[in-house]
Each structure stands twice: as structure tokens, then as C-alpha cells.
């Protein structure tokens, strides 16, 4: 599963559906899943380190943390995008006015 997930990420980047700069977070996630499967004892160690009873709770905790980070990241991106869209809309209005002015000038 984890390997398939990694393959999917690579394929999305290959088909230019996902930009390189956004892919690192996902590749890191895929890799950590692979590592935790391969070295299960690390997960057990982490579980006792954070005081959890079962290793599944550790996985849930990590998943929740990961989703929170991803969402925050998207919120930041959306804020950036809306500023750019606002600037573009303003520029459109100003340029439209300028074109009208130039057309009506003798």
C-alpha cells in the first residue's frame, strides 16, 4: 500500500499533475509509512515514548498531525492565491479603463 502510494505521487509529478514543490510533503509521508512498516520496532519505541498503549493510536496521532499541517499549508496557499486574484482583478479593471481611454482619444 505504502509503496503504491509513493508510486502514485511519482506518477502525478511525472504527468505534471502535481508540482515538485508540493510533492515533498507527500513523498516524506509515503517514506515514513514505508519505514514504519519496515522497522516496526521503531513504531513500538515511539509508542512507548509518547505514552500510548497501542501502536495504532500512535499512527492515528501522526495521521491527525499530518492532516492538520497539510490543511494549514493549504490555507496559507489559498490566502496567497486570493491576494493574487484580487491584484489581477484590479489590474483588469484598470487596464480596461485605460484601453477605453486610449480608444476614445483622437
Amino acid at each position: 500500500m505504502a509503496l503504491l502510494f509513493l508510486l502514485l505521487i511519482f506518477d502525478l509529478v511525472r504527468r505534471r499533475r502535481l508540482k515538485i514543490e508540493y510533492s515533498w510533503l507527500w513523498i516524506a509521508t509515503g517514506c515514513s509509512i514505508v519505514v514504519l512498516i519496515w522497522r516496526y520496532d521503531w513504531l513500538v519505541w515511539l509508542t512507548s515514548a509518547i505514552g500510548a498503549v497501542t501502536s495504532t493510536s500512535t499512527l492515528f496521532l501522526l495521521a491527525l498531525f499530518f492532516l492538520a499541517v497539510v490543511n494549514l499549508h493549504y490555507s496559507v496557499r489559498i490566502s496567497e492565491m486570493s491576494t493574487r486574484i484580487k491584484d489581477l482583478a484590479q489590474e483588469t479593471a484598470l487596464l480596461q479603463n485605460e484601453v477605453k481611454r486610449l480608444k476614445s482619444a483622437p
Binding site: 482583478a89 484590479q90 483588469t92 479593471a93 484598470l94
Partner: protein, 272 residues
């Protein structure tokens, strides 16, 4: 002098507002920023004799206002007056704003409906909120603020450069915008103006929206006072390619510098 009228679906009033401004300030240029209206506000404004900027979709009050100020800066206006398109702001008070602008040499002159009370009645809750933000803004900038939500104001070029910069809290440019303006070194004064109750439509602060607005504004003020903003003329000018323009207006209040990207003579002469 340019009068900027941001308008979103104000077909019932915007024509009369434009005509009122033309009557009160003959010779003043009037610019209506049509913020993606669907009721023909833009066409009506043009019919009434205003220059019209048409935004491709509704962007909100802050961005619409900013569009008008970008226009004013690019066309070399020395001052701009912002006046709502819903008929609340009496064009007859533009003279009072400009007189104070000339007299005090302030960067921003805010028209206050509460400075001389009795002319404007608002619901108790709104009055309380306005008073609260007024006190808060007043405490932050160290002077009395009676109408922190007023959109009726006169701006000089330095203030206009602040309004087009990223420093402006653009989502809700009220009390937080005043505080930021003060923190970047702009001088603000208030003058009493006449305001009418809305004839048509609903205010942007009605009902639940008012509640949301309250907390948004509170949070916005909180982060505003946590920032360390400085108005740098070179960086904050809307057109960074034109450094000379920013250079020319620095410290010389009221001196209109025709932007280099506009043909000589094309820019309307600065009035008032």
C-alpha cells in the same frame, strides 16, 4: 481631486450620488468602482457622468476601494475623497473634508457622524460596537476616534500609497486600517460630517454578519498592534517600476507628480 465611489449593487442610489457630487463639487472627477455589480450600477454611474472601473467579479469593499486609489495614484491625483455609493454620505460634506485636509495638512481626514451627535441614529448595539472600537482605536493611536467605521474620508498621496500597499488590512479596512495608518506614520484627523440613514438595501454589518465582523475586527486589531509596519515610499508604491514617482511625492504634500507611464496632458489637472 478625485472622488472615489465604491459600489456593489447600488443601482437605486449610485446615480443620484454621482450627480450630487457633481453638483456639490463642480469640476471634480468622479470615479465609480463597480465591484462586480449585477444590477447595472456601472452603466447607471457612467450615464450620470462618472468614470467607471469595472471589476470582473465581487471582490469586497477593501479591494474595490483599493482599485480606485490605484487609479488615483496612477493618474496623478493629489488627493482623493472616498464616498459610499449607497447615499449615506452627504456629498455636501466633501467640502468640509477637503477644507480640513488643506488646513491641518493631515494625511487622512475621516468624516465622523458622531463628532457632532444628533444627525445620525443607529441601533443601540451598533452604536455600542462603534464606541468600543472607537475607544480601542483611540487608545492605540493616542487620539480621540469617534467613528472608526466611517468610509467617508479624504486621502493625500502618502495615505493613498499606504492604501495600495500590502500593509492595509484589506478585508475589513476600518479601525485596524486607522491604527496601521498611524503606526506607519500617517496623520489622521476627524471632522464632523452629515450622514443619512440607508435608503435602500442592507448594511454590510447587519445581523450575524455584524457579529462575525466584530470578532474579525477584534482579531485584526490584535495582530495589527503586534506587527512592526513601516511605510517605505519606494516599496509600497503601487508601481515599483516607477521609483521616480515615489521619490517625487515624498514629503511634498499635495504635489501632483504625473506618472511617467501616462502621456503628458492625458492626466486630468489636479483640483482643489
Amino acid at each position: 481631486m478625485l472622488v472615489i465611489v465604491p459600489a456593489y449593487n447600488e443601482a437605486a442610489t449610485v446615480g443620484a450620488v454621482v450627480q450630487g457630487i457633481a453638483r456639490e463639487r463642480p469640476g471634480a472627477a468622479v470615479l465609480v468602482v463597480d465591484d462586480g455589480s449585477t444590477d447595472g450600477s456601472g452603466a447607471l454611474s457612467a450615464e450620470a457622468g462618472a468614470e467607471v472601473l469595472t471589476l470582473p467579479f465581487n471582490t469586497g469593499y477593501g479591494p474595490a476601494l483599493q482599485t480606485g486609489i490605484k487609479y488615483a495614484l496612477r493618474r496623478g491625483f493629489a488627493a482623493a475623497v472616498v464616498c459610499d455609493g449607497d447615499g449615506q454620505h452627504d456629498p455636501g460634506s466633501i467640502g468640509a473634508l477637503l477644507a480640513e485636509f488643506e488646513r491641518s495638512g493631515a494625511d487622512i481626514v475621516v468624516g465622523s457622524r458622531y463628532l457632532e451627535t444628533g444627525t445620525f441614529e443607529a441601533p443601540a448595539l451598533k452604536r455600542a460596537a462603534v464606541r468600543f472600537f472607537g475607544l480601542l482605536a483611540g487608545a492605540c493611536i493616542g487620539q480621540r476616534v469617534t467613528d472608526p467605521t466611517s468610509g467617508f474620508k479624504a486621502l493625500g498621496r502618502r495615505a493613498m500609497r499606504y492604501y495600495v500597499s500590502d500593509l492595509l488590512p484589506i478585508s475589513f479596512p476600518d479601525a485596524d486600517a486607522m491604527i496601521t495608518a498611524h503606526r506607519v506614520g500617517l496623520r489622521i484627523v476627524e471632522v464632523p460630517v452629515k450622514m443619512h440613514p440607508r435608503a435602500e438595501g442592507r448594511s454590510m454589518h447587519d445581523g450575524l454578519k455584524g457579529f462575525v465582523y466584530f470578532f474579525n475586527m477584534l482579531f485584526s486589531i490584535l495582530v495589527t498592534v503586534m506587527r512592526k509596519d513601516r511605510l517605505d515610499p519606494e516599496v509600497t508604491d503601487d508601481d515599483p517600476r516607477d521609483a521616480a514617482k515615489a521619490e517625487g511625492v515624498r514629503g511634498v504634500r499635495g504635489a501632483a507628480v504625473p506618472p511617467a507611464d501616462i502621456r503628458p496632458g492625458a492626466a486630468p489637472p489636479a483640483q482643489d
